[in-house]
Symmetry: C2
């Protein structure tokens, strides 16, 4: 009985969400990346990160957005790489990015100076250097960034709109299907639950002279369902649940696992998300908490989340192998 | 007869838009900046830049946004400074910023390298330099950035939400009122026309399980009206009109001038906004167009807009002086 619903999600995707022109090209790139790293003995994680943009007009001036800096996804990418994974980083354009995230709060021009420091040295062709008092970690971060780049361990893919996100995620799932249980999905992006179908969208900017705005938005198809059942049925899939009301959080997380039958939900509350999460699996429930001591040492909760999930992924792969 | 409506805009601002806690402090800073530069013989322009965020929930997960990278505001700030103005840059957090805007498309870590280039030099404490093949203009831009900073010619103020924007703009107008016709307002920000009053906003994240989303949004008060009449009646005020439909653009621009009685409207169409605008004043209408030759030479339309408006501002100041 589930078949028609799944078909209809696929159908809806094609009909109501514009297909990005580069989706096949990106899919081939992701498939090659996954094959290469799987053959080299690495696992591959697809991280989604940042919020989605939902246009209200086809020549878009206004859009609905979801709060997300992309911090969790960008930080997690680094820890997955440190744990031996290759990472496909499917992220919102201009959201936080692995490694560069560390100095996004600084105006880069405040961190640069002319060699020797003096204004006299400021002619064209003068050497421009980083002031390491402003960016004390820059040498370490740059070194790691270059290693990761040279190793080809990070494949960045960008999206902007909800439509791009949905189609690129589908393409990623199909691309990673070939490496079976070695693939993990880490769906940290903050995806809109609502949208306006292309057919119902006004072409031009909505005029404020027409009075107050009445918006009627449809529900976005639950793409987790075909992802788990059809597109990448052998992969380890982690979804995220963010709420502002802590009292409904764990029920929501369990509910999602019951509905979609995937492997893990990272449950978190908006206000405490940087110091507390619960990783919920069908059999377990692990609370991850940063202590004051951890915070002082600048430990990040993403290190704990990634450590927990890589263990779960190992067990999952062992079970998958023994089931063969 | 206009009095009650103006009162009600001020009343609405206080009642329905949360007042940022730092607004008085920022107002004092802007007033001191304006006084200092006016005494030094400079004109002062208040530039607004970037889109506004309109929360749909009070613990905000979702929001309505307006498309705007902040490019026009950031570029214009540079040309105003080059024309002898001091600039208050009231911009959306993380929108494009003067000078740094030039390399925002580049991952900064791709533009840095260890001194000498070799990996061997990459220890901690190693000098990190800018690769000027990746950023060929960096020395010139850094030099200009440092001059502007040393001269105290740029005062950046950030906003995120529509509420912050509205209250900070009001504060800016009141702060600049003391320098009379030497003040210009250049309202390039893409401000939402619609909002949900605090009193009607749900506290928690809207649940997608409740079905499709019906949003009813009120119209944002037209703040240009009290700005021109009450808050800074002697200033030169430029508003912007962006449309996607070119056929209604000029009527809209003239309509705005008739309604608000300010000095200029910069009218532009979404698709062509980087190469064509019309500056509309009560008496004139100037088409500014970049030729292919201009584009090749990397001339920016903002240079033309600023040049046009500084001339208009000069005339305006002369008239204001002779009217005394």
């Amino acid at each position: 009985m589930a078949e028609p619903r799944i078909c209809s999600i696929d159908g809806k995707l094609t009909e109501e969400f514009a297909i990005p022109s580069h989706v096949e090209e990106v899919k081939e790139k992701m498939a090659a990346f996954a094959r290469f790293h799987a053959e080299a003995g690495r696992r591959v994680v697809l991280i989604t990160s940042g919020g989605t943009k939902v246009p209200l007009e086809s020549r878009t001036v206004r859009f609905l957005d979801n709060f997300s800096s992309g911090r969790r996804g960008a930080a997690s990418a680094e820890y997955f790489i440190d744990s031996g994974y290759a990472v496909i980083f499917l992220h919102r354009h201009h959201s936080l990015y692995p490694y560069t995230r560390m100095f996004v709060t600084i105006n880069m021009l405040d961190a640069l100076q002319f060699m020797g420091g003096g204004e006299g040295a400021a002619g064209n062709g003068a050497e421009v250097v980083v002031n390491q008092q402003v960016l004390p970690n820059i040498a370490k971060v740059l070194k790691r960034y270059q290693e990761v780049k040279d190793g080809g361990l990070l494949l960045p893919i960008e999206f902007n709109t909800l439509s791009e996100y949905l189609h690129l995620l589908k393409a990623a799932a199909q691309a990673l299907n070939s490496i079976g249980s070695k693939a993990m999905f880490y769906l940290a992006a903050a995806v809109s639950d609502f949208y306006i179908p292309t057919s119902e969208m006004p072409e031009h900017k909505i005029q404020s002279s027409n009075g107050p705005l009445q918006l009627s938005m449809k529900m976005v198809p639950k793409i987790l369902s075909p992802l788990v059942k059809d597109w990448a049925p052998q992969a380890f899939v982690t979804s995220f649940k963010l709420e502002t009301d802590a009292s409904i959080l764990l029920d929501k997380a369990r509910g999602a696992l019951d509905t979609y039958r995937h492997q893990a939900v990272v449950a978190n509350v908006l206000d405490s998300r940087r110091g507390y999460v619960v990783v919920v699996t069908p059999e377990t429930q692990a609370e991850l908490i940063l202590s004051k001591e951890d915070v002082k040492k600048e430990v990040e909760i993403e290190e704990r989340i990634v450590s927990n999930l890589t263990s779960e992924h190992s067990k999952f792969m062992t079970q998958a192998a023994s089931a063969k």
